[in-house]
Symmetry: C2
Subunit: 206 residues, 2 copies
């Protein structure tokens, strides 16, 4: 699955450059919309380099991109995502997502969701890789909600895993509609509904 691991620091730089640039291109134009020549042009590399580091060709490169894209999303949100354990934090998270969409002019949607939608049907390996990403994401949210429950902010019968899954679904659907309508309203409404649902499990009425 993993291709040629670069042996020298120069090789590592090149490989990383390729993956990063491809991730950008895939976010902008989609996976099938980006050719290896596009990648070549964007990175100033040659065909042989692409196949040297990714002997499996485009499939393998896309797998690396999926992992990188996941890493990026989590890196960007880590401070938020790791402390998603209070009502204020949830609201901040909601606002952050919406602000980002506004900044992107509602384009692009979720990098992970888009790749999943595009590739799930025709590449089983990528599909399960992306399913894994979603699971990780869910577990971040779940952890925060579990902390809130342990702290007595959520009722004991609230199920953090289920609530987290519902929240991610709302997020993904909201992003898809926002991307399609070029309006922030869907993501706002979707997240508000999801958070209201979570709040309906609050220990004390809010």
């Amino acid at each position: 699955m993993d291709g040629n691991v670069p042996m020298t620091s120069r090789g590592r730089r090149t490989r990383a450059k390729i993956v990063d640039a491809t991730a950008d291109l895939v976010f902008e134009r989609g996976a099938t919309g980006t050719s290896l020549d596009d990648v070549r042009a964007a990175t100033g590399t040659s065909k042989s380099q692409l196949f040297h580091y990714f002997p499996g060709g485009k499939r393998e490169l896309l797998a690396a991109v999926a992992e990188r894209q996941t890493e990026r999303v989590f890196d960007a949100q880590r401070p938020t995502l790791e402390k998603l354990d209070s009502w204020a934090a949830l609201r901040r998270w909601r606002n952050g997502v919406i602000a980002l969409q506004r900044q992107l002019h509602c384009a692009g949607g979720c990098p992970i969701g888009s790749m999943a939608n595009e590739l799930a049907e025709h590449d089983p390996q990528l599909r399960s890789l992306l399913a894994e990403s979603f699971a990780t994401w869910q577990s971040y949210i779940e952890r925060g909600l579990a902390a809130m429950r342990d702290r007595g902010q959520l009722r004991r019968d609230a199920d953090p895993a289920t609530l987290a899954l519902a929240t991610i679904a709302a997020l993904q659907g909201g992003l898809l509609l926002t991307k399609t309508t070029r309006t922030t309203r869907p993501i706002e409404v979707a997240l508000d509904a999801a958070l209201a649902h979570v709040r309906s499990f609050a220990a004390s009425p809010r």
Copy 2:
């Protein structure tokens, strides 16, 4: 935008055959994953026919497919969708969606959502066409919820349009996750959460 309108019944049959078969192919393999030669093979038609009925080439064919796909979704759900105005009807709708996913082995997701995700970024016309589809869909649900409110089943401060939008977002996100994980759980959880949110606006507690 509309291509050559067929003049004879033979022409209409051919054009319809092309659109229907393409819709199937696009659902299975995605829009960029279906070539005009695939369409040719599936329909037993020739290149000249494709361009005779769709002078704009693939773009125009895809636009026709998007409209057809929307029509299909609504046709299949019309009886349900037009009477989505009671708690029982909402539950039946939920169960129907889930049963369909199970039957499809969790593959494919929503035909409209998938096309939107794939094409929104690189074809503005298609994007707004699909946004229109979502809006129509939303209005069906909205109408049912408004009826429930008028009938006194929903509180007066419940906003049918917003609730409908949140529901569609949950549906789309749930379908995406179901398609990615190959499990019905995401769509179940997403729809349950959406309906619980709607129920939280019930006039009398349920």
